[in-house]
């Protein structure tokens, strides 16, 4: 394996970005797409080669390449350096694989858009930063990717920049992410202050050497962990660092309290939602926590926080997802909820289970978004599920792909989501974490809700009688006119406007509801296949599998550990099986409830909603979190800036000193003007006074600076 090839992995998409970004406007669409696809595909090929190499026997645990220094001052240096270990390889595979499929899909989905070149340029820019993020061998280079994907996300959410809601959503995403970055930055400053470096290896290798007071103990003995009485350090500043990292991860991975940007991010084109806001970027926080497992392992408090935040996010987002009407918003809340699952897994120390779910989630959630995009495409831009229905026969390929995705995420046995979710729940239940049982209960409940809202989406979209006005769809440039009555009837103020620009150029050849072209359906089918079988790499031992996924990651998660590896918590097989049974039961119950409410007895859901009006309204309004933040933080801050700082401090105090200064000058000038009266006798008087002063100074030696 030629390690210098590693540089090419991110640089190729960057070259694609530069090409499309500068001259893309003048190129034909086919050329733009070819550049973007080729850049991604070539990176993907290198990654595939890398994967094969890393799986082969005798491969090193990690490949590293270092180039020139990026930031260097005396005492601190960060290089451009990449490291590839097993965790990175998995992330690289997901990013380039799913990324390439979504690029292909976008060729069809965006075919009629203005700014085609801009879209693909941004998409390649995103790939570049995301690959840097996972390849980096230091916190700072990871932060480069971290901020960079935020930028790409900002640009892509605001792709339809003429629409205020899209511009707002992009800005909100960037700023909320910056709040997370604030935590990440502080964590890095603490790391520098304590370890003098930001390189993963240099920081992590110092951790086992911290003695119980947090002092670095290299001087006493080289192999201290085996010295009798050595207490490994935990808590203290490591907890501070971990919690600040969690703030960063909560921003990027949309966890409580910073999840609010992700649902709004659905303003972007659907492939963007699939790639950035479901499969890759939002999982960066989980990747980061897993990458820093050495730090987190030393801080039980921080791990507990991670588990609780994850569990709370999972269930909260799932409850909101139950009542949304916009198909993309349901998926968005579902993403938040699933990310909460992964957080939960990391919080109970089951990092490889978290990464496993990250991978299967990337498959089925990308599939779900792309299939939803295909539905939206078929309905010429409509996203409201209340006006869908009965699409099963009209768009069969989309329907079947979506079905695989829905069953996978809901946890249907033998599909990918089942294995990864089951693994997380099992690990939570058996973990020594003080909140393990609690988060397991929440996890099972969430899994029930997930199954319910996903089947709700499935039934509402594909079954029952069609609720759209086909005539209007066929002749209007998009669905807005036809659907106006529905929107006015809607009791929620949060129905999102459909992508109005989408398909605006399509009016000429619009022919009503149509299956998507093959460039869109082929990626769907590939993803459906992955969503179905992707879980078989991690079949647990209790079911006769070998859990290859976990063993593949073992070198990563046992590195830097001091002393003996902790023995596997050996739970009896019946426990694993009964836990699985509970999970399957939750899946079945969710499916059944959704079937009853949305297929068998339609209208029962509305009745229930009416009966529990306050609760329903709480959920529909997403617990009023946006409003609460607005009222508690944003408005007071703006008020204080405008009136207290701007109106009072700047005008009265800062400006006041200026006025006082100019007033004093004016006063002085009045005096001096008096002195210059033009009267020769008064001049003589001043002269005499001055002379007297000089004489006094000379005689009595009054020296102003003499001590």
């Amino acid at each position: 394996m030629n390690t210098s090839l590693l540089w090419l992995i991110p640089i190729l998409p960057f070259a694609g970005f530069l090409l499309n970004g500068t001259i893309g406007r003048k190129l034909p669409r086919a050329a733009v797409a070819a550049i973007a696809l080729l850049a991604t595909l070539t990176s993907g090929a290198i990654v595939a080669d890398l994967w094969i190499y890393m799986k082969s026997a005798g491969a090193p645990l990690a490949l590293a390449v270092t180039s020139r220094p990026w930031i260097a001052v005396t005492g601190f240096q960060v290089d451009f350096a990449f490291t590839v270990d097993h965790l990175t390889v998995i992330m690289l595979g997901i990013i380039t694989g799913v990324g390439f499929l979504i690029h292909v899909y976008s060729v069809g989905y965006m075919a009629h858009e203005e700014g085609y070149w801009r879209f693909f340029a941004y998409l390649n820019l995103f790939m570049f930063f995301m690959l840097v993020l996972v390849l980096s061998s230091s916190f700072l280079l990871l932060f480069v990717g971290w901020e960079g994907v935020g930028l790409a996300s900002y640009l892509l959410i605001g792709f339809y920049f003429k629409r205020d809601s899209a511009a707002n959503a992009g800005k909100k995403a960037f700023i909320v992410n910056r709040i997370g970055d604030f935590g990440f930055l502080l964590a890095m400053f603490l790391l520098i202050a304590h370890f003098g470096s930001l390189s993963f290896d240099r920081v992590f290798s110092q951790i086992p050497m911290l003695d119980s007071t947090g002092h670095l103990a290299t001087s006493r003995c080289a192999s201290l962990p085996c010295v009798i009485g050595f207490q490994p350090y935990s808590g203290g500043f490591l907890t501070a660092i971990c919690l600040l990292l969690v703030v960063g991860a909560a921003g990027k991975s949309a966890q409580i309290p910073l999840y609010i940007w992700l649902p709004d991010a659905m303003e972007g084109p659907t492939p963007v939602s699939a790639l950035i806001h479901a499969a890759t970027m939002v999982t960066a926080g989980i990747y980061m926590v897993a990458r820093c497992h050495v730090l987190f392992d030393r801080s039980p408090a921080a791990l507990t926080v991670v588990a609780l935040v994850g569990a709370a996010t999972a269930i909260m987002a799932a409850t909101i997802g139950m009542v949304q009407h916009d198909i993309k918003r349901v998926l968005a809340y579902s993403t938040v909820s699933q990310l909460g699952y992964m957080f939960l897994a990391c919080g109970v120390g089951a990092y490889s289970a978290g990464i496993f779910h990250l991978m299967t989630h990337a498959f089925f959630k990308a599939l779900l978004f792309l299939a939803a995009g295909s539905v939206i495409h078929a309905l010429s831009g409509e996203q409201d599920m209340r006006v869908m229905g009965g699409l099963r026969k009209r768009i069969p390929i989309t329907f079947w792909c979506m079905t695989v995705g829905v069953f996978a995420i809901a946890g249907c046995p033998l599909l990918s989501g089942f294995f990864s979710k089951d693994e997380i729940l099992y690990q939570a239940f058996t973990s020594p974490s003080p909140v393990g049982k609690l988060v397991w209960v929440i996890g099972v409940l969430t899994s029930l809700l997930t199954s319910f809202y996903m089947f709700r989406l499935w039934f509402k979209t594909f079954f029952g009688a069609p609720r759209f006005d086909e005539h209007a769809l066929a002749h209007g440039s998009h669905g807005q006119a036809a659907l106006a009555p529905v929107h006015t009837r809607s009791d929620t103020t949060h129905t999102m406007v459909a992508e109005p620009e989408h398909d605006s150029g399509q009016a000429a050849h619009s022919h009503g509801i149509h299956e998507s072209p093959w460039v869109m359906t082929v990626p769907l089918m590939v993803l459906a296949l992955l969503a179905a079988i992707g879980g078989y790499v991690g079949v647990p031992v209790a079911f006769g599998g070998h859990n290859e996924f976990e063993h593949f990651l073992d070198p990563v998660f046992t590195a830097y550990s001091s002393g003996q590896p902790t023995p596997e918590p050996s739970a009896p097989a019946y426990q694993a099986i009964s836990l699985t049974a509970i999970a399957v039961f939750a899946f079945a119950l969710g499916l059944l409830t959704a079937y009853v409410f949305y297929c068998r007895k339609q209208g029962r859901a509305t009745q229930l909603a009416r009966r529990f009006k306050p609760l329903y309204s709480l959920l529909v309004h997403k617990f009023w979190v946006d409003e609460i933040y607005g009222a508690l933080i944003v408005s007071p801050l703006l008020f204080a800036s405008r009136w207290v700082l701007g109106g009072f401090v700047d005008t009265a105090i800062v400006g006041g000193t200026a006025s006082a200064a100019s007033g004093a000058t004016k006063g002085l000038s009045q005096i001096t003007r008096r002195m210059q009266s033009g009267n020769i006798r008064s001049y003589a008087g001043w002269l005499a006074l001055g002379a007297a002063a000089v004489i006094i100074v000379v005689l009595f030696g009054v020296h102003p600076f003499h001590h």
Binding site: R68, I71, V73, T74, G75, F76, V144, E147, G148, L151, Y154, G158, F161, K162, R163, A167, N168, G170, K171, I175, R178, I179, F182, G183, L185, L186, F189, I192, A193, H194, G196, T218, G236, L243, V247, A250, P257, L258, W261, A301, A302, T304, V305, Y629, I633, V634, L637, L638, S641, L645, G646, D650, V654, T657, A658, A661, S662, T665, F705, H707
Partner: protein, 546 residues
């Protein structure tokens, strides 16, 4: 031919001679003679300044001056014509050289009448700036310092945008002149005590504590210097002149009005001649810096005038540098010095872009704009790149400086440093908020009423050249910062308290003063304290504007 001994004089003379020549050429209606002349002169100056980093001896003894020219000028009092550059002034000189042709290009369209007056004064301003960076004789320096005030005042009074210009010019002059006059007293006292105006000599005396045994007088003297510099920066709350000056000043002058001169002077003279006093007053300046970051960003968030927004943004950026250099850590000083370069470039690019908008639509009121992205795709690209450099996106120049400054603050040993690091870091949130808000209001959404009436054009060739130069620098400085840091670090390591190299055994423990309420400093950082107790950090979810 070896320029090394005369290069600094050449750098100063070129714009000076140019100014005289331009003043002698008669002005003709509608002709671009003076524009072209000024451009040629400034480009020659830029080329001459590029000689400095090209032939600089990076391995030379840190703190030594290169390309020195030291000639007696007046024997009594002992004033010498002493010029030289070191790691601190090397790139600042190049920066001054670079900004001048950019300023001329930015004035290409806007200055149509009285061009002779404008460009003559502009070149004099250039002489003054270069002189400030190059002088090593305090009296010579003071001459350039005062010279820098005059052209700016006159230009604002003559070429100001509104009828408010006279008042703004007077305000600027008073703000700049009164502290400078007090500084002159301090300067003369120094001469009386030591008998020399020579900076290296004074620096040596200061290092051996032999300027004066009178600590009170020394303190007053150091304050007279610091206040004059702080007003020029400006440091919060001495920024009363900034808004009016920036609002009135033509683009080319807004680019050079604030920041680098004052900051350089603090680094050179306050730190060089008054090292102890500067360290004693550092906690105050660190606090003012951190507050200034938040204050400037928050006020930028609520402005409706683009130039006012830019001036408060400038205040925020300058405060970052103040925070960094007064930590007296290598990271802080290096980062602060690097950030002077970045701040000047970002500020200049930002003012140029605002000027382009004004040229097209004749207003700086944000509320009049909207939806320009579709009309000006290149302009919005440049705006976004500049904004990203300004808010410190990694891989662009702003990040390197900001990161080093804040990380230096965290390493500092000044009391409450963790608090100020946290307060300063909130700046990354607020600066993103106002920049993105501004971009959204001007470029996104539906078309605003002013662009509806007037039809502007996208960038022309001159504007492309100008802005790509900036964009290229943002990227190159963000990616290859060691090129600049090599020289800057020689200064930073000398100035900082001690090198922040972390030997494994000399581990410093911030947590001893952070986590324990009974620590001797009597101070607990709320965020980290909460973190240690397993609670969510309280400052995490505050402060977004969305």
């Amino acid at each position: 031919m070896n320029f090394d001994h005369t290069i600094l004089t050449l750098i100063l003379l070129t714009p000076l001679v140019g100014a005289i020549v331009l003043a002698l050429i008669p002005e003709r209606e509608g002709a671009k003679t003076h524009h072209i002349g000024a451009l040629v002169i400034t480009l020659i100056t830029l080329l001459l300044t590029l000689h400095l980093p090209w032939h600089y001896h990076y391995a030379a003894e840190p703190g030594s001056f290169q390309y020195e020219q030291n000639l007696p000028w007046i024997s009594v009092p002992a004033i010498r014509y002493h010029l030289g550059v070191d790691g601190l002034s090397l790139w600042l000189t190049v920066l001054a050289g670079f900004l001048a042709p950019m300023g001329v290009l930015a004035s290409w369209r806007t200055i149509t009448s009285r061009t002779k007056l404008f460009f003559t004064l502009f070149l004099l301003q250039q002489v003054a700036m270069l002189g400030i960076f190059l002088s090593l004789d305090l009296f010579l320096y003071y001459g350039f310092w005062e010279l820098s005030l005059v052209p700016l005042t006159l230009l604002i009074a003559t070429f100001g945008r509104t009828e408010n210009r006279r008042r703004a010019a007077i305000k600027f002059f008073l703000y700049a002149f009164i502290p400078s006059a007090i500084m002159l007293v301090g300067l003369l006292w120094l001469y009386v005590r030591t008998g020399t105006f020579d900076f290296p000599a004074l620096q040596n005396l200061a290092a051996s504590h032999s300027i004066s045994p009178n600590t009170t007088a020394l303190w007053l003297c150091s304050l007279s210097f610091l206040v004059a510099f702080a007003v020029k920066c400006p440091v919060f709350p001495l920024h009363g002149w900034l808004c009016d000056t920036i609002t009135e000043a033509p683009t080319a002058l807004a680019m050079v009005a604030a920041g680098k001169l004052g900051l350089y002077s603090i680094l050179r003279f306050s730190f060089g001649i008054f090292p102890e006093q500067s360290r004693h007053i550092a906690p105050l300046l660190i606090a003012l810096g951190a507050i200034g970051i938040v204050y400037g960003s928050l006020l930028a968030l609520v402005q409706t005038d683009l130039k006012k927004l830019a001036s408060f943004s400038l205040l925020g950026h300058v405060s970052f540098i103040i925070l960094g250099i007064f930590t007296f850590t290598v990271s802080g000083v290096d980062g602060g010095t690097f950030q002077i370069l970045n701040e000047s470039l970002v500020g200049a690019a930002f003012f140029i872009l605002l000027g382009l908008l004004y040229e097209r639509y004749g207003t700086y009121d944000i509320r009049d704009y909207g939806g320009l992205a579709a009309r000006h795709p290149w302009m919005v690209t440049m705006f976004v790149i500049t904004a990203l450099a300004g808010i410190g996106l990694p891989m662009l120049s702003g990040f390197v400086g900001e990161f080093l400054i804040l990380s230096g603050t965290m390493q500092s040993i000044v009391a409450h440093h963790v608090v100020w690091a946290v307060v300063g870091t909130t700046g990354v949130i607020f600066s993103a908020a106002y920049m993105l808000w501004m971009i959204q209001r001007v470029f996104y959404g539906s078309i605003g009423h002013r662009p509806d009436e007037v039809h502007g054009w996208d960038l022309n060739a001159r504007e492309h050249v100008e802005l790509w130069a900036f964009a290229g620098l943002f990227l190159v400085m963000g990616l290859f910062s060691p090129v600049w840091m090599r020289a800057i670090d020689t200064y930073g390591t000398l100035t900082a308290d001690k090198p922040t190299r972390f030997e494994p055994n000399t581990f410093r423990h911030i947590e001893t003063e952070t986590y324990e309420p009974t620590a001797s400093r009597g101070f607990v950082d709320p965020t980290l304290g909460a973190a240690a107790l397993g609670k969510q950090a309280p400052s995490a979810n505050k402060g977004a504007r969305y």
